[in-house]
Subunit: 333 residues, 2 copies
C-alpha cells in the first residue's frame, strides 16, 4: 500500500487540521467529538442544516460547510458512520432556535446514529427533522443499506436547501424542499478500480484488468453487474437510462447534472463523459441547464464516475444559483 | 488499460466539447485550430493573456480561462505541445490592442511553438511578450526541457497577472508582475504511481509497490531520486526545504501555498500533506496566508502531489483576492 498518510489512525484527524488551516476563513473544527462547523456557529432564527458520514468521500461533507450550504458536518472514520455524540454536539452547537435538519445518506449506521442524536436533542427541546437521501438506482438493498443507497443527490440537496435556509425559509418549507430533492434526484456510479482503506491496506474489492463494476457504491459495494470495460459513451448510456427513467421526466424538462469523479479519475475523462451525458439527455428531450463536473463525492482514490441528475424548475434553479461559499463549492461571493 | 474514453485520437476533442457544454457561460472553444477563449473574445484596451501546453493536466490551462485569469488557452494533444497555428489563432482572436502575453511553461516544444506564433503575430503588428515559467526546483534540465521545468507556479501566475490585466494594468506592468511571479514561485512534485497515456496504453514509467519518484515532472519525467515510500510528513519536509530555500525568504515572510494533487490522489491525503506543509513553513518563520488545496495541475490519473509556493506581498495578495470566474478557480463573483 502506498498512501500519503502518517498513521492510519490519525488520518482523519490530520485531514481535519489541514482543512481548518486551509479554510479557516469559513469554518472551524471542533475536536472530540469531531465536527466541522461554520466559523460563526449560531445563526439565530435560521434553520440549521447538518450532514455527515464516513470520511474518504471528500469534499463531501466538510467541504460543503459554509454560507449557503451546511451549518455543520460530522466526519466519521474512513467509510464509517460518525457516532451519535458527534451529531448531538454539532446539532447543539449550530441550533439557532428555528429547527435543525439532519441530512442523512441512506446507510443503516448513519441513520441509526443520527436518530439517536436527534432523540437526545429533541428531549432538550431542539426540533430536529431527518431527511434520508436514497438516490442510487443501481441496487435495492446493499451491504450497509436497507433500500437504496444515498449518494450524489446529497450534494445537490445540500446546495439547494442550504440556499433556502440561508434566505430565511422556515423549517417546514426547507423540509418540503428537501423532500422534493429526495424525490427528484437520482444517481448511478461505476468503478474501474477499487480503493484502499488506510486502516486495511489492501483493495476493498478485486477487479480484473478489463473489468468494471457497474452500479458500484461509494464504499465499493457491489453494483448491478461486473462487466467488461466499454467505450465511455456506452457507459454513459447504460447509466443514464435507469437514472433518467426512474423519475417522471417529460419532453422539455430541465435537469441539473453532476458528472462526478470517484477520486482517481482524470478531469479530461470526466469532460468526455459529461459531453455524451448532455447529448444523451438531449436526445431524450431533457435539457441540462446546470452542471457540476469534477470530484464532489469520492471514494478515496477509486477510478470511476457517477452521474447524478435532479429535475429542476425555476425555484430550484434560483436556489442553485444563490451564493455559496464553501471549500468544495463556491460562487457569487 | 482501463480508460473512460472512446477513441484515444478523439479524447482531447471530446473533452473540449464537454468543457464547452459545462462552462458555456464563460468560455467558448474554437476548433481547428483548437483554442479555448473567453466567451467575449475581444476586450479592447486590455492586455490579453494566453497560456497553453499539452492536455492531460486539467484543469490547467483551459480551466483557467475567464474573467480575472486567462483570455485564451491552447490545448495540445495529451502531454504534447500545441502547434504554432493554435497560439497564432488564439493571439489574433483575443488581442485587444494593448499587447498579448504568452505565458509558457519551460518545455522546449512549448517555447519553440509559442515563439513561432509570436513572430508571426509581431509581423502583423501585435505586440507579444513571452514569459517562461521554470519553477520546478527538482532537477536542472529534464527530458523535454533545457533548464528547470515549468509547473505549478504557472497556475498562481495566471491568477495574479490575470487580475492585473483585468483591472487595466499596461503591458509593461503586467510583464513586470509576471517576472516577479517567475522569480518568486517555486515547486516540487512526487509520484506514487505513473499515469497511462490514452494513445500509448501502458504506464509511462515503471515504479515498485513500495517506491516513489521524488521530484517527478508532470509528464512523468524522472526526478531527483527513486526512493522508498515515507510517511506524509517526511515527504513534505523533503520537498519543502528545497522549494523554500531556493528563493530568498526571511523570518516573517508570507507565502501563497498550493498543495496540488497529481490527479489520482484523495483530497483527504492532500489535506494531511497541507497540514504539515503549513506547520513546517511556520517553524521556518514563513507564514502561509493564502492557499489552494486540490487538483490544479495534474498528470492524468497519476497519484502523488506537488507543493508550490510564491512569496507574497500586499500587492500580490490584493491581486490574488481579486474576483476570478473560471472553471477551475472561482471567487468573488
Amino acid at each position: 500500500m502506498k498512501k500519503l498518510i502518517n498513521d492510519p489512525n490519525n488520518a482523519v484527524l490530520e485531514a481535519l487540521q489541514g482543512m481548518e488551516k486551509a479554510h479557516g476563513d469559513i469554518l472551524k473544527v471542533n475536536y472530540d467529538p469531531d465536527f466541522i462547523a461554520r466559523k460563526t456557529l449560531k445563526n439565530k432564527g435560521k434553520v440549521a442544516i447538518i450532514s455527515g458520514g464516513g470520511s474518504g468521500h471528500e469534499p463531501m461533507h466538510g467541504g460543503y460547510v459554509g454560507l449557503g450550504m451546511l451549518d455543520a458536518a460530522c466526519p466519521g472514520a474512513v467509510f464509517t458512520s460518525p457516532t451519535p455524540d458527534q451529531m448531538e454536539a454539532a446539532t447543539k452547537a449550530v441550533n439557532g432556535g428555528a429547527g435543525v435538519i439532519h441530512l442523512v445518506k441512506n446507510y443503516t449506521g448513519d441513520i441509526m446514529n443520527f436518530q439517536m442524536a436527534a432523540d437526545i436533542c429533541a428531549d432538550e427541546g431542539i426540533e430536529v427533522k431527518p431527511i434520508v437521501i436514497d438516490d442510487d438506482v443501481s441496487v435495492k438493498d446493499s451491504l450497509y443499506t436497507a433500500g437504496r443507497r444515498g449518494v450524489g443527490a446529497t450534494v445537490l440537496t445540500e446546495k439547494i436547501i442550504g440556499a433556502a435556509a440561508e434566505r430565511g425559509d422556515k423549517l417546514d418549507d426547507v423540509v418540503k424542499l428537501a423532500q422534493y430533492c429526495k424525490d427528484n434526484g437520482r444517481s448511478m456510479g461505476m468503478a474501474l478500480t477499487s480503493c484502499i482503506l488506510p486502516s486495511v491496506g489492501k483493495p476493498i474489492f478485486e477487479i480484473g484488468d478489463d473489468e468494471i463494476e457497474m452500479g458500484v457504491g461509494i464504499h465499493g459495494e457491489p453494483g448491478r453487474e461486473r462487466m467488461k470495460i466499454k467505450p465511455a459513451n456506452e457507459l454513459v448510456e447504460i447509466m443514464l437510462e435507469p437514472v433518467l427513467s426512474d423519475i417522471s421526466l417529460e419532453n422539455g424538462d430541465e435537469i441539473i447534472l453532476m458528472l462526478n469523479g470517484m477520486g482517481g479519475t482524470p478531469l479530461l475523462e470526466l469532460y468526455i463523459l459529461f459531453n455524451h451525458a448532455v447529448d444523451t439527455a438531449k436526445k431524450l428531450g431533457i435539457k441540462t441547464v446546470r452542471c457540476l463536473v469534477g470530484n464532489y463525492i469520492t471514494s478515496l482514490e477509486m477510478q470511476g464516475f457517477s452521474i447524478t441528475i435532479m429535475k429542476a424548475n425555476s425555484e430550484i434553479l434560483k436556489l442553485w444559483d444563490a451564493p455559496v461559499h464553501t471549500a468544495g463549492l463556491r460562487w457569487g461571493i
